[in-house]
Amino acid sequence: MTSAKERRNEKSKTPFLRRDGVRSVIASLICILGGLVVGLIVLVILAVFNENIPVGEAFRGVFTLLSGPFSAGNLNDALFQAGNMFFQATPLIMTGLSVALAFKTGLFNIGAPGQYLMGAMGSLLVALSIPSTVVPAWIIWILALLTGIILGALWGCIPGFFKAKFNVNEVIVCIMTNWIAANIVSWVFFAADDLFINYDETKVNFIRKTATNGISTWTLGLDKVFGGSYMDISIFLACIIAVALYILINKTTFGYELRACGFNKNASRYAGMNEKRNIVLSMAIAGALAACGAAFWCLNGAQDFKWDTYQTLPADGFNGIPAALLASNNPIGVIFSAIFLKYLGVGGSNMAALTSFNEYVSPLIVAVIIYFAGASKLIKDILARRKVTVENTKDTRYAPEPVPSADPPKIEMLSAEEDRPPQEPAEERRDEE
């Protein structure tokens, strides 16, 4: 009914604070603030009960945490930490995108750690088994990336298939596939042994660095700029992927189908969409994204991948969940939330080094942030109610003449009932319940 132009007009006329996106950002900021406050409370309690730690130390700790790389002391260290932060944020952006895409289809992809491990395995197997003397290194790099992505996509298909075919809760299947992946990866490297395990530097728990085969991601001198850190171009590739994903979700028919499936599976089937195919495809893309993040990390060239991983799952996989939740599943937002989470991580390790507290504070804060993010819909609803009141008074005071707009009835109502906030009837109904 409304053309794209009209919708754009409508959007530009919607007051800033009433826009859905703005509200999401505010809700996320409230979640972050809540997490930080809880973290501060924990530190203060600790300082009060421990006579070795003065109470002021708690505030200094939170300040160090919040300063992220800037708390490093001198400029060179700060740049080094910032470079590593951007590098470490790259896989997190990818797993965040993975979780966000699955959320858009109404699926909770807690299987990102498993997909991540499969991606790491695929890329490492290719990157280390083809000698770069025979094939040019850049071809191997691309091949390794693609192998990782394909393995991850296949791995992501499993929960999607179980959901679509048997209607099994994807969370359980994802968790099981995580542990299966962890064991398979350990088994493969255990069996292949000499080919991949790093005996040269007697780090037998780790896989050889891909740089030993001459394969590393292009840095364009960025590693030098950032004080000799691991920084490379992969974060820019991740940003490009995020933008592409945004376009895919919001501007294409396929993305529309995915979102429709997430809103109401039955309605989307009724509208003639193949909702089962969409579930499997969505999980496959999610798996590919998580695996791509792992491949970016492994192919950096200087990273040690711990192969005997059957008892632990990569934290970056799980942290994709807070990254996606904080960004309200917006792919562009994931870039910022992922960098923010890593910023907290850097701050946490600085805090462990510089104050009496340990680095486990930052995962604690992140967990509290997700706890609040679970209730972000409630926060958004509360915000929506408050903002309407604010806009209501604004409208009557500064814009007495009704502006012709896409939804005039709303504005008329707002300006007509000056004394009574428009949400009152809704509240009355709530009371009756």
Partner: protein, 335 residues
């Protein structure tokens, strides 16, 4: 053979009690995906209790008493921790999966944070302590009877006292949820909360009750797990046992008898992995040698339970009788 059954029992008991925990939450209408996290928190608080109690020589001498106290302390703190889940799911009407995931991430962070602060290390071990007579004692077995017939040996030789407590609790709580008025009310809240509310049941209170019992049982199971399986070491992880328990609950169709069977089956599969990896150390029965001769790495045996879960879920999905209202925030006005 007896060795294998004993091991199976040791693995099955925590799964049994945690799967029952999951059942209580889901029967009241709350998806408790935080079982894993509550287990971790319970294991931490139980280990901390053990550490504190052992400062007193009386408790070192009365080892089994200390063990039981630790188990119930873990249950208490597990119940307390689960209030976070109930609050977010019932009062904030948050997405229960996300709330549970938050708890799953919070529990290891919290316990690792405090272990590091209090003990300056990354894990809290429970080594044996010398008692007043000077002999080193750890919690160990309550009953040692070498001269029994084989069947009785499974239960009454090298048995932990926790095994009997857990079985007792399992029977007690299963009877409670099926044979009492409150149990019936609790179950009705998971099926049709609006109908339950219409006959005067306080749905939110019932859901709080279900989730808190669930948390207490999961905390109990968490400390049980690390005390009997993981050498009493709290390290902020239970290797996904909580999720395995959740799968057992689905396998058992949200019913105690099914859960008991599922726990035995998965306990057996889970113990295969450990038994096969301990082969060079432990030489007891012929079956164990048989596994060794196959020459498969332990990763293979580790995989079996997880793959079994997937197969079971695929086959169980058709006859699944999940509580109808689970995972849906209670809304009075909804019909």
């Amino acid at each position: 053979m007896i060795f294998l059954f004993q091991k199976t029992l040791i693995f099955a008991i925590p799964l049994l009690i945690v799967a029952l925990a999951g059942m209580f939450a889901e029967r009241s209408g709350i998806i408790n995906i935080a079982l894993d996290g509550i287990m971790i928190f319970g294991s931490f608080s139980g280990a901390l209790t053990a550490y504190l109690l052992r400062g007193n020589p009386f408790f070192v001498d009365h080892n089994q008493l200390t063990f039981v106290l630790c188990l119930f302390s873990a249950a208490f703190f597990g119940g307390l921790f689960s209030l976070l889940l109930s609050f977010s799911a019932i009062n904030l009407k948050a997405d229960q999966t996300i709330g549970g995931t938050a708890l799953n991430m919070l529990a290891p962070a919290l316990s690792m944070f405090f272990i590091k602060v209090l003990f300056f290390k990354d894990r809290l071990e429970m080594p044996g302590m010398p008692d007043s007579t000077g002999t080193t004692r750890d919690f160990g077995f309550a009953i040692l009877n070498e001269d029994l017939n084989p069947v009785a040996q499974v239960f009454f030789n090298k048995a932990y006292i926790s095994t009997f407590i857990a079985i007792g609790l399992f029977v007690l709580f299963s009877l409670w949820i099926y044979k009492t008025k409150t149990g019936l009310r609790l179950r009705s809240c998971g099926e049709h909360p609006q109908a339950a509310a219409s006959v005067g049941i306080n749905v939110n209170r019932m859901r709080y009750l279900g989730t808190t019992i669930s948390g207490a049982l999961a905390g109990f199971g968490g400390y049980l797990y690390i005390a009997t399986v993981a050498n009493g070491t709290a390290s902020g992880a239970v290797e996904g046992m909580g999720f395995l328990a959740l799968a057992i609950m689905i396998f058992g169709n949200w019913k105690p008898v099914g859960i008991a069977l599922g726990a035995l089956l998965f306990g057996f599969l889970k113990c295969l992995a450990v038994v096969s990896s301990q082969l060079s150390v432990n030489v007891n029965g012929t079956e164990v040698y048989f596994l060794k001769e196959l020459g498969l790495p332990m990763y293979f045996y580790n995989l079996i339970p997880y793959i079994a879960v997937l197969l079971v879920l695929a086959f169980a999905s058709k006859r699944s009788r999940a509580p109808k209202a689970e995972g849906i925030p209670y809304d009075k006005g909804m019909r």
